[in-house]
Amino acid sequence: MDVFTFLIDGLGTAMQPMNLMFALVGVMLGTAVGVMPGIGPALTVALLLPVSLSFGATGSMIMFAGIYYGGMYGGAISSILLNTPGETASIMTALEGNRMARRGVGGKALGAAAFGSFFGGMVGTLGLALVAPFMVMVALSFGTAEYFALMVLSFMTVSAAFGGSMSRGLTALFIGLTIGLVGTDKLTGQVRLAFGVPEMSDNISIAIVAVGLFAIGETMYLASQHINHKTKAQAVSGSVWLNWEDIKRCIKPYMRGAGLGFLFGPLPTGGAEIPTFLSYTTEKKLAKGQARKDFDEGRGAIEGVAGPEAANNASAAGTLIPLLTLGLPTSATAAMMLAGFQQYGLQPGPLLFTNSADLVWGLVASLFIANLMLVVLNVPLIGIWVRLLTIPRPWLYAGILTFATLGIVGAQGSAFALILLLGFGLIGFVMRRFGYPLAPALVGAILGPLAEEQLRRGLMINRGDWSFLVTSNIALTIYAIAFLSVFGPRLWALGRRQLVARRQES
């Protein structure tokens, strides 16, 4: 019961008016910055670290928690309304969310995202309070073989959910894998596909790829159509608020998404990407009835927003587990949080829970508060956000371009990034025009390098012996799940058909 005493103490601290104000400022700032593609919560926290020193440890932690959750939600806003995911965590949100916005129910998508973030954050934070030690054990028992198996699982399930044309989905995936190759190979220092351009000897930032393919490509695609852009878009049709029917549809995706996010958060595989990919594909696979129709007919299914949004916030709480207990940052934002701790002379690690329990629980409590603040502040604003779409299209898209280039130039500090952005924009344009899906390209660019690294690290540790891949039970279990998730439904259908045939015979 110690946990709850600590937690209630922590909540007491976080509820003080001054701290509530920090949470408020953080959430507002985070949302504002998160809307801008390319500039995510990690960068915002990094820039504000020096400023925050004067707020004291608790105050700045609460503000950072607010920025973090606000930033995640801001990413969802630009994904849903503008089809411009500026961060890897909200790529999957853009797929269904933007389709919903196009048919005038963007408000519902935003609502599903806000409550999903809240739910995922709550589940993740509770899990953090209750099962942190167990999750740490799991994370430590994972070696290269298990991580590689996880990558295989992600690749297989994501490719199975491409829909439409298999060959075009795979082509997009391979273009992504090629993008992932560019830059310095981490294991040998060999520079690949940079053609002597120093700016390309670093790996291409995923923000550039995402903003280029989605935002720039989309803008080019729209500009290349012979339609009168001055006709106003239908921004809102029907109520912007979620009704009971919508909420019922969201509950299961919330739970599955939060579960996936929390499980994957503590693993050092790059944070929120894999759980959001898996959540989206799970929802798409399991959809029935109206949801099935919404997914299949490209109307935009609310489940496809709810699941990934719950997953990315739950994974954010999950990443705190290895950070707080081992001092092991597993994502960019966790790394910034670590810097924040160090600023106050605290070293996250095995001793933090015993040495500074009050601060740890203060942080957990501030996550709760920031999460709550996010919903309280943003849900009433949804009606205003969707009005963004009523801006005349020429200015709306010119504005998106300005924001996108600002985010990229600001974060990279060089105009060269814009040349890459233009290049990816053109690729995105061609892909859209010829019906190639965009998401697999990003999946390939994110997962490809991770999979390669894990495989080659494993081979180095085992001195070139491939058998390590299949000697771990955990890895074998993951392969089995991967196989079943892709071929299971088909085998099931085949089996049933035979059964039916046999019955008819008899």
Partner: protein, 192 residues
């Protein structure tokens, strides 16, 4: 609007492959709206994919051999990817030859050209040191033109206001340095 919806729908419409337990890889598996006409642009895509594969192969083949306990150097993954792209390029070529790509809307080259020009203008202006505000004002105005907004003065005015506000926010609230030009330095001098 409706045409756009159709387009979005076309992207993910289920092929028969998803409802029946088989995957078909080319030609027939396309969404069923194939034109049936030989598609030159599709063949160009196939050719570009071959080119990409060749590029990856020739780059990877040039890496010096490095000793490593993995027996798996930085060149192996590129080789695998290049091989995969060759296969996909062949499938694309067959699809295009058989007319498997859907019919496309007529291309508005002028609109596309304005967008590309807008981004190129921003890149050139940033490289030549005109600073962020001017460069992104031009970007905004040209991009608005791409969508048929010909109120040039108004476009520039909106773009300039927005860029200046964004510059102030980033420079002074976040301390992030955006590319400086004479205008930015002047603002800096005034405000400090």
């Amino acid at each position: 609007m409706s045409r756009e919806d159709n387009k979005a729908a076309g992207e993910t419409r289920l092929s028969p492959a998803e409802t029946e337990p088989e995957i078909r890889l080319y030609g027939e598996d396309e969404t069923g709206n194939g034109t049936g006409l030989r598609d030159l642009a599709g063949l160009v895509i196939a050719a570009s994919l071959f080119g990409l594969a060749l590029l990856i192969y020739s780059d990877a083949a040039s890496y010096p051999v490095r000793r490593s306990y993995a027996q798996f150097g930085p060149e192996i993954f590129p080789f695998i990817i290049a091989a995969g792209i060759v296969v996909l390029a062949c499938i694309t070529a067959v699809t295009a030859w058989r007319g498997g790509f859907e019919a496309r809307d007529k291309l508005n080259l002028a609109g596309l050209g304005w967008i590309v020009a807008a981004i190129c203008a921003e890149i050139l202006m940033l490289y030549s040191g005109t600073g962020f505000i001017l460069a992104s004002t031009v970007l905004f105005a040209l991009a608005a033109r791409a969508f048929g907004q010909t109120t040039h003065l108004l476009n520039f005015a909106i773009g300039a206001t927005m860029s200046t506000l964004l510059f102030l926010l980033f420079r002074y609230a976040l301390g992030l340095a955006l590319p400086n030009g004479p205008l930015e330095r002047a603002i800096d001098q005034l405000l400090r």
